[in-house]
């Protein structure tokens, strides 16, 4: 749910309650005021009657057109005090009962005590009240409408830098070039957020850089001790040795060789990460593939593999060194993980290259093969970095690599 929706969810009911309270109070206050006005009118009529009686010594005539009903009733023994009350009165013209305000009092006229009742229906007041309430409701609705409209405009404007910042941090890559410029904002909270984003991104980039530097340095630092081990072995090999001793030595040679490959692969990955392979040429990939296969001919031969090439003429913009590594890894894999007298099939069509080979009967785990150090058990000759190097090269050169398995054929498709 969006923040604004959340906001409305809370604010609208609160405003509603407020408005209901306003309507309620308006209703009662207006009603009270109008009733008071009415009561004053009744009292004014009383004063007029008293004045008339004083001047003329008799009760006035009652006009039928008056809004007020005045009733004179003789009787009563003692004077009653003024009393104001609401009653239901039947209005013959409208044939309806109506609430009315009634003022009862008594008066001596020529020695005779009269009970006088003046009443006036509240009808006018009621209409007025309804009108006022209607006005209030319309006002409330219009206010609410404008409130929402303005809010929506203002909110979307206020939040714009927020969403922009989010977008920027979302597309931020630790290994990807320049730091994003966050939108200018004069809202303190957003400024704070941008500062933190900037800080976090900076930290991440720095840590990543450090890690890469570390990997690179570590790989380099391994080279000298490896060189020492190897040179010692090379000298030792010159000494006369028993068969057992040479066997042991070969174990060491093999391990040094593996370690060298590992170190080279790690360094290569770091360099691809660091985008140290610059310079892109248009390379005839079909020729590069035939060259590569030619280079690997002896290996194909040694394992009696048959390699079938279907190459259309095609160019690819790529770094020459990287493309060579890519092809080398692709074809070396196809050879290494093949079965004896198996087949390799390379197809180059338009913007994709597929290298398929016969091999193990079951598919590889497509979600894991491109991870670093992925290898199946007992593959000591394989450091599990070949495919991650392929993936890394593809990632940095806007190519895509996919693995598929069907009917005993493993295939890797590179598209660009």
């Amino acid at each position: 749910m969006k923040l604004t929706t959340h906001y409305y969810k809370h604010i609208v009911p609160a405003v509603m309650v407020l408005f209901v309270a306003v309507i309620g109070s308006a209703y009662f206050l207006i009603r009270h005021a109008l009733q008071r006005e009415l009561d004053l009118g009744l009292l004014r009529s009383k004063s007029r009657i008293e004045a008339y009686v004083k001047a003329n010594g008799r009760l006035p005539e009652v006009s039928a057109f008056d809004d007020q009903h005045i009733v004179f009733e003789p009787g009563g023994s003692r004077a009653a005090a003024d009393s104001l009350s609401s009653t239901m009165v039947y209005i013959p013209e409208q044939k309806k009962m109506h609430i009315s305000r009634k003022l009862s009092f008594s008066m001596m006229v020529n020695g005779q005590l009269w009970g006088i009742t003046i009443s006036q229906p509240l009808e006018g007041t009621r209409h007025m009240t309804i009108l006022v309430v209607e006005i209030t409701v319309v006002t409330i609705l219009l206010t609410l409408f404008f409130f929402i409209l303005v809010n929506r405009q203002v909110l979307s404007k206020i939040w714009r830098p927020f969403y922009r910042s989010l977008e920027l941090i979302g597309s931020f890559k630790v290994d990807g070039g320049a730091e994003p410029t966050y939108p200018e904002t004069n809202i303190d909270e957003f400024q704070l957020m941008n500062t933190h984003f900037r800080q976090a991104a900076e930290n991440a980039s720095r840590d990543y850089r450090n890690l890469r530097e570390f990997t690179e340095n570590a790989s380099h630092e391994l080279q000298t001790p490896l060189a020492i081990v190897r040179s010692n072995l090379d000298l030792l090999a010159q000494e006369g040795m028993s068969e057992r001793q040479s066997e042991l030595m070969q174990g060491v040679y093999t391990a040094v060789r593996r370690m060298k490959r590992l170190q080279e692969s790690l360094l290569l990955l770091t360099k691809i990460d660091n985008r140290q392979f610059t310079g892109v040429d248009d390379i005839r990939i079909d020729l590069a593939i035939s060259d590569k296969v030619h280079q690997l001919q002896e290996l194909l031969h040694a394992r009696s593999l048959h390699c079938k090439l279907e190459l259309e003429e095609a160019s690819i913009p790529a770094n020459r060194e990287l493309l060579d590594i890519l092809l080398n890894n692709l074809f070396s894999n196809a050879i290494r993980h093949n079965i004896s007298e198996g087949e390799i099939h390379a197809q180059l069509e338009g913007h994709s290259l597929r290298v398929s080979n016969t091999g193990a009967a079951e598919a590889l785990d497509g979600s894991r093969i491109f991870r670093r150090f992925y290898k199946k058990a007992n593959q000591s000759d394989n450091n599990g970095l070949g495919l991650s190097i392929i993936k890394q090269i593809c990632d940095t050169t806007a190519m895509k690599v996919q693995y598929a398995f069907a009917e005993g054929w493993h295939s890797f498709t590179i598209s660009w």
């Binding site: 080279q223 000298t224 060189a227 020492i228 190897r230 040179s231 040479s246 066997e247 040679y253 040694a302």
Partner: protein
């Protein structure tokens, strides 16, 4: 023939010098740029084995100075950096060759040999050994007076063996020499085996004694005796 080894790792420079000594090269070792300069001021060398990362400076700087003084010494760079850029920088400054650590001593010896021969014999670069004559320019081999027809790999192999005469050359080093980085399989050992077998057969058919001996499955040794 004298060689100057500029390398700050004492055990490595010791090993290099004792291996090269078997090629009858006289080796001197120094560990810093300053010491190297002092040596180079007084003598010239047939070949310099130069490490790039030295404690008091860069081997590349030293190389630049050396080439500015127009010294004709051959230079092999041995570096812990194997990027193409560094290699190009080194070669651009006038180095003759570039080897990345860890290298095989046999490989280094082959490269040093090649440089020294190239410099010593200018145009005519021929190795004569017992009944073998190797013309390094035409890449041809003669046994006595008959041309021996070898494949490219067999030729490379023979030259490699000759450069490491009387020493055990391991299969690892042969694999790296023949294929550099492109082959990373134990399969390559089988291929080496068949190359060596063919080479031996061709040499013996041409009337040579069996120069190449297998050493406990570890490698091979080329010797005249």
């Amino acid at each position: 023939m004298n060689v100057l080894i500029i390398e700050d790792e004492p055990s490595l420079s010791r090993n290099i010098s004792s291996y090269l000594l078997q090629s009858l090269y006289v080796c001197e070792t120094v560990a810093t740029v300053a010491m190297a300069k002092a040596k180079l001021d007084h003598a010239s060398y047939d070949c310099i084995v130069l490490d790039i990362g030295l404690p008091d400076g860069s081997g590349l700087e030293l190389l630049r100075e050396l080439k500015q003084k127009n010294e004709s010494d051959g230079v092999v760079i041995i570096s812990a950096k194997n990027s193409l850029d560094d290699k190009l920088a080194g070669l651009g400054l006038g180095a003759d060759d570039y080897l990345t650590k860890p290298f095989h001593l046999a490989e280094l010896s082959a490269r040093v040999n090649a440089i020294i021969r190239r410099r010593a014999f200018d145009g005519r670069n021929v190795i004569t050994l017992d009944r073998l004559t190797i013309d390094l320019l035409c890449k041809s081999i003669r046994v006595d007076d008959t041309e021996l027809s070898l494949t490219r790999k067999e030729y490379d192999l023979l030259v490699y063996f000759v450069s490491n005469k009387n020493r055990v050359v391991t299969k690892e080093s042969i694999a790296d020499h023949l294929w550099e980085a492109s082959v990373q399989m134990t399969d390559s050992f089988d291929i080496i085996y068949s190359h060596v077998k063919n080479l031996r057969k061709k040499l013996m058919e041409a009337g040579c004694p069996d120069y190449i001996k297998s050493v406990h499955g570890m490698g091979y040794k080329f010797s005249l005796a």
